[in-house]
């Protein structure tokens, strides 16, 4: 009788041990995934910044828009870790302000069609027609650059969603009583949500 109890107790202990180690490795996996998602997010942000920088120096935009973008890119790149979210949000706002307007789209389409600024016609001859208004390169290159920025911005949106999702699950797992009592997360750093404005198309 006593033997049965001892055997059962040992068995329970072993099972519990397996369970704890499974929980610990799951938490470890979550931390790893959080880390990987964070790296992906950082990469996406860097790609977005370089695409925006390229656009700013492309001559496709008017100089005021270029300058705004270049300023926002520079700030995002130089931001300290604590201010990164604000600087990246500012870059989003700068992108939205310069590229997100319907006029910009219309203009770009007009450039693609070949002729720009149709209202510049009256009386002064065609020589005046919007030479400075358009891209220095060909329209295809312009569209390509713009697509790249949009793609990069979209990737930021997705990467951030993924990161915050896995960070949230990691935080939940860390908060469970067992994980807290047995300190299952070890020395792994507690993940933080990355909050930023990353909607490229929505006006505020």
């Amino acid at each position: 009788m006593t033997w049965t109890i001892i055997v059962l107790a040992v068995l329970a202990l072993v099972l519990w041990g397996f369970y704890v180690s499974w929980r610990a490795s799951r938490l470890d996996r979550l931390h790893n995934r959080t880390e990987a998602s964070r790296t992906a997010l950082d990469l996406a942000l860097v790609r977005r910044a370089s695409a925006a920088a390229e656009l700013a120096s492309s001559g496709l935009l008017d100089p005021a828009s270029s300058l705004l973008l270049a300023d926002a890119v520079r700030r995002a790149r130089q931001a300290e870790a604590a201010e990164r979210d604000l600087a990246e949000s500012d870059l989003t706002r700068a992108l939205r302000a310069t590229l997100g307007t319907p006029e910009f789209r219309a203009e770009l389409r007009a450039e693609d069609g070949g002729d720009a600024a149709p209202e510049v016609t009256a009386g002064r001859g065609a020589a005046e027609t919007a030479s400075a208004d358009g891209p220095d390169g060909d329209p295809d290159a312009a569209t390509e650059l713009l697509d790249e920025v949009e793609k990069a911005a979209n990737q930021v949106f997705i990467a951030r969603k993924f990161y915050n999702d896995v960070a949230g699950r990691t935080l939940d797992a860390r908060r469970r009583p067992l994980a807290r009592v047995l300190h299952l997360s070890g020395s792994a750093r507690q993940p933080e949500f990355f909050e930023m404005d990353d909607e490229l198309t929505d006006g505020d």
Partner: protein, 375 residues
């Protein structure tokens, strides 16, 4: 002369550059010239007849804060149309390194272009000035004006080419006479301050400390402060028994600002730096107020090295208290400084400033055809 002026900041928002442009435009019109100002502004709001609005400016993050600027294809088209319709003899852009209408105007125009730089450029913008798009636009500028020595040196160092120094004008007539606010200045004397309360470099904290030193020995002395910021926070910094003697007003209308200047015996400008000209100080001078100002280059210039107003060691509240006490006790000295201040500020009157700007226009139009759209 037909003059086109491009303003970078929203006309609907009060600001130094906007006020400069308004005063310059009105002074030029008074001198008989044809002036048109293009500015970001709401079309639905009443505007002076010489302002051409480009629509409500979009708030965008720029240079560490949020600014209301006009940019993009629509604004570019409007600038283009304004230039074509205006057929100006000269184009005058303000703050061409700010991403807004003046930069766009530079970009699409050719011919006699004059640029005025108002603020000394911070390092961040100096770096941006290397942008090729910006350089191309700035290279078209033929006449350069800086409103201060500091602005001039950034012009010379980073944008290439020297600039003529033409300080801001003051609409002196507007400040000369006004009714004091009710109950001011009072028997025990009053000290005035105007400026943003929560911006440390405006130096309100220094003045409050000096007031703490002065007030106990002068039971009637009061302090009159006006400007945006958290008044309660600043009042809270004073010892409790002094709080009743410091009056904090919020942001004032132009008219009340002039009344405030006529409500105090001494005006204090305790700024610690970053001031390119000190327009508020000059306005107080135009009201004939004796000034106590910190010893920074901008104030030294306008106060003629202390002849038209007292200077105190920058940031030193004890020195400020000492200098102010001396002035409060010496009505003859105050009267003398009042006359000297009026005399010094007369040289900054817009009528005179506009003449200097005109001579720059006259120089750049020599041998050049009128402003046209760039090829």
């Amino acid at each position: 002369m037909r003059i086109g002026i491009a303003c970078p900041y929203s006309w609907d928002v009060p600001g130094g550059v906007q006020q400069h442009i308004r005063d310059l435009a009105e002074a030029l019109i008074e001198l008989g010239h044809d002036v048109s100002v293009i500015a970001p502004a709401d079309e639905d709001r009443p505007l002076p007849p010489y302002v051409v609005p480009t629509g409500r400016a979009m708030p965008v993050p720029y240079n560490g804060s949020v600014a209301r600027l006009s940019f993009g294809p629509l604004s570019t088209r409007r600038v283009r149309r304004w230039l074509r319709d205006g057929a100006f003899d000269v184009l005058h852009v303000h703050e061409p390194t700010v991403p807004s209408l003046p930069l766009l105007a530079c970009w699409v125009a050719s011919g006699p272009i004059v640029a005025t730089v108002h603020t000394a450029m911070p390092r961040s913008r100096v770096l941006l000035a290397t942008q090729p798009v910006l350089r191309t636009a700035l290279e078209k500028i033929v006449g350069r004006i800086a409103v201060s020595e500091a602005a001039r040196s950034t012009f010379v160092e980073h944008l290439g080419g020297d600039a003529v120094l033409i300080p801001n004008g003051v609409a002196t007539r507007r400040y000369r006479h006004a009714e004091p606010l009710d109950g001011w200045p009072g028997k025990g004397g009053a000290i005035g301050f105007l400026g943003r309360m929560d911006e440390p470099r405006k130096g309100l904290a220094i003045l409050l400390r000096a007031f703490e030193v002065l007030a106990p020995a002068r039971p009637g002395l009061r302090l009159l402060v006006a400007g945006t910021g958290d008044a309660d926070e600043h009042r809270g910094r004073l010892p409790e028994e002094l709080r009743d003697r410091a009056v904090f007003l919020g942001e004032l209308s132009e008219e009340d600002k002039v009344r405030l200047l006529h409500s105090v015996d001494v005006f204090c400008s305790p700024n610690t730096g970053g001031e390119s000209f000190g327009i508020v100080t000059a306005e107080a001078m135009a009201a004939g107020l004796p000034i106590v100002a910190s010893d920074i280059p901008a104030f030294r210039d306008v106060l003629r090295n202390g002849q038209a107003g007292e200077l105190f060691a920058t940031g030193d509240s004890d020195d400020l208290a000492r200098v102010t006490a001396r002035l409060l006790d010496d009505p003859a000295r105050r009267a003398q400084l009042s006359v000297a201040a009026l005399d010094a500020v007369a040289g900054y009157d817009w009528g005179i400033v506009a003449q200097s700007v005109l001579s720059v226009y006259e120089t750049v139009v020599l041998g050049r055809s009128a402003v046209s759209l760039a090829q």
